[in-house]
């Protein structure tokens, strides 16, 4: 599950967010926020993707650097949160 979550996030970020801007591959431990790789608009797109893809609700309070700084952090956050009730 962890590996799968990492892979899904990595694919989305590489294909949808940083597609043409960065040619080198990103690592799951890379800092994507303070380096500006993911900016204010991209993070909102990413959250919309996480909510849709992982069936989760990301409350406003959770939108802090610790939870989204890297793909590793995002995967940990996703795994710690149960899917939204239907």
């Amino acid at each position: 599950m962890t590996k799968n979550t990492h892979a899904i996030l990595l694919e989305y970020i590489q294909s949808e967010i940083i597609s043409n801007e960065i040619t080198s591959k990103i690592a799951t431990s890379d800092d994507l926020l303070s380096t500006g790789i993911i900016d204010s608009l991209s993070i909102m797109r990413l959250i919309a993707f996480i909510e849709e893809r992982f069936d989760q609700k990301v409350p406003p309070q959770d939108l802090v650097i610790e939870n989204f700084i890297s793909i590793d952090a995002m995967a940990t956050y996703i795994l710690q949160n149960p899917p939204s009730p239907k």
């Binding site: 204010s40 608009l41 406003p60 309070q61």
Partner: protein, 384 residues
């Protein structure tokens, strides 16, 4: 599938807002506008009716048990339709969604009791201090700094173009605690007007929305206790993103209401006005302009209601919000020009209270993200 059937009780509430606005907010807007005078008594009347209470829960003096985005949108549309002062509706929306809502969502029990309750009751007025002289569209490049010290923070910097800054009792101020983290280093603080080191400027004269005071805050070694920090350290970006979404939707809802009122007034004028022995509405050069006003309004309504539906169902609406802001902001300017053109020279005279909408509308292409920024957002979302 989209569903435009509003809840019956929400429509009834909207109608009650329209009735309230027509009866209780009928004041000499022209002279207030000319003098840049804020109708403080009407602000209190709005609070007594429950307008400010739409952005709070009953527990803290709010109008309903929960905040209902769809009901709020309808209510603010009704307010914009019934109230002829676009400034007052702008000011109400600014406080409700960018001050009250963040306190409700991110604040402690202490914050809610001390700050939210008096904002809802109309006793106090709150501001949202974000923009800086050198950080407008590039907002996260702010220089206002909050240096951690024992039991609090020391704020230094300037905020400008702040709605209510000259008169507000409190403000949510965004400042960087860790500049090296960019937007993620920003925190929010509730600053009270009697705090040492805070200076509120006089009212700045502006083109439109003149009944609502706008001005600056200057912070010079202003100590803010830790208990006045809103949310966790670094939560500033989250607070901003959350509240601006509501703010944009509701301010725009009031603009839709104002455009509906503008259209109806223009149709009435065109039908009554006689030139060349007939109603000017019979001339296609006039009727076509009014048709354009109608189409702009209906497209704006569709975009607004789609955004409302998406948010009501907890869905992302970044593209729709940007489309709405862009379309509505520009449309209100165009329709305000058409309203003046329809009246000819009479529309140019301030005493006929037509030109004021145009001056007010200009603000809509600038505040809460300029039209250019909305285009940038849409382009990015298109993958451009």
């Amino acid at each position: 599938m989209l569903d435009f059937n509003w809840e019956e009780e929400d429509l009834i509430y909207k109608n009650s807002v329209v009735e309230f606005a027509r009866e209780e907010l009928d004041f000499p807007v022209r002279s207030y506008d000319k003098e840049g005078h804020f109708p403080r008594d009407l602000w209190t009347k709005c609070a007594t009716f429950g307008i400010q209470g739409l952005a709070a829960t009953k527990e803290f003096g709010g109008s309903f048990d929960q905040i209902n985005f769809a009901r709020a949108i309808l209510a603010m549309e009704g307010l914009g339709y019934g109230c002829r002062d676009n400034g007052l509706t702008f000011g109400l929306n600014a406080q409700m969604w960018t001050v009250q809502l963040p306190i409700l969502q991110f604040g402690s029990q202490h914050h809610k009791d001390k700050f939210l309750r008096p904002l809802v009751s109309g006793e106090k007025i709150g501001a949202h201090a974000l923009t800086e002289p050198h950080a407008g569209s590039d907002i996260f490049n702010m220089t206002c700094a909050a240096r951690p010290v024992a039991d609090g923070y020391i704020l230094n910097g300037t905020k400008h173009l702040i709605t209510f800054a000259p008169i507000a009792d409190l403000a949510i101020v965004f400042a960087s605690v860790k500049p090296e983290l960019g937007q993620w280093g920003i925190s929010a603080f509730i600053v009270e007007r009697d705090m040492k080191g805070l200076k509120q400027s006089p009212v700045r004269e502006k083109m439109g929305l003149r009944t609502i005071p706008i001005g600056e805050y200057v912070f010079k070694d202003c100590f803010v206790p830790t208990e006045n920090r809103l949310g966790t350290e670094g939560a500033g970006f989250s607070i901003l993103s959350y509240s601006l979404e509501y703010d944009r939707g509701c301010i725009l809802a009031s603009q839709v209401g104002a455009m509906q009122r503008q259209l109806e007034d223009t149709i009435e004028f065109a039908r009554k006005r006689q030139q060349f022995k007939q109603s000017i509405a019979k001339f296609q050069s006039v009727s076509n302009r009014i048709v354009d006003m109608k189409v702009r309004l209906d497209i704006a309504k569709l975009l607004l209601y789609k955004l409302t539906w998406l948010k009501h169902h907890g869905k992302s609406a970044m593209m729709e919000a940007a489309e709405l802001k862009l379309h509505l902001g520009e449309s209100f300017v165009e329709s305000s020009l058409d309203a003046i053109r329809t009246r000819g020279g009479m529309g140019y005279l301030s005493e006929n209270e037509v030109e004021r909408d145009l001056r007010d509308a200009i603000g809509g292409v600038l505040y809460a993200g300029t039209s250019d920024i909305q285009r940038n957002i849409i382009a990015r979302l298109l993958g451009l």
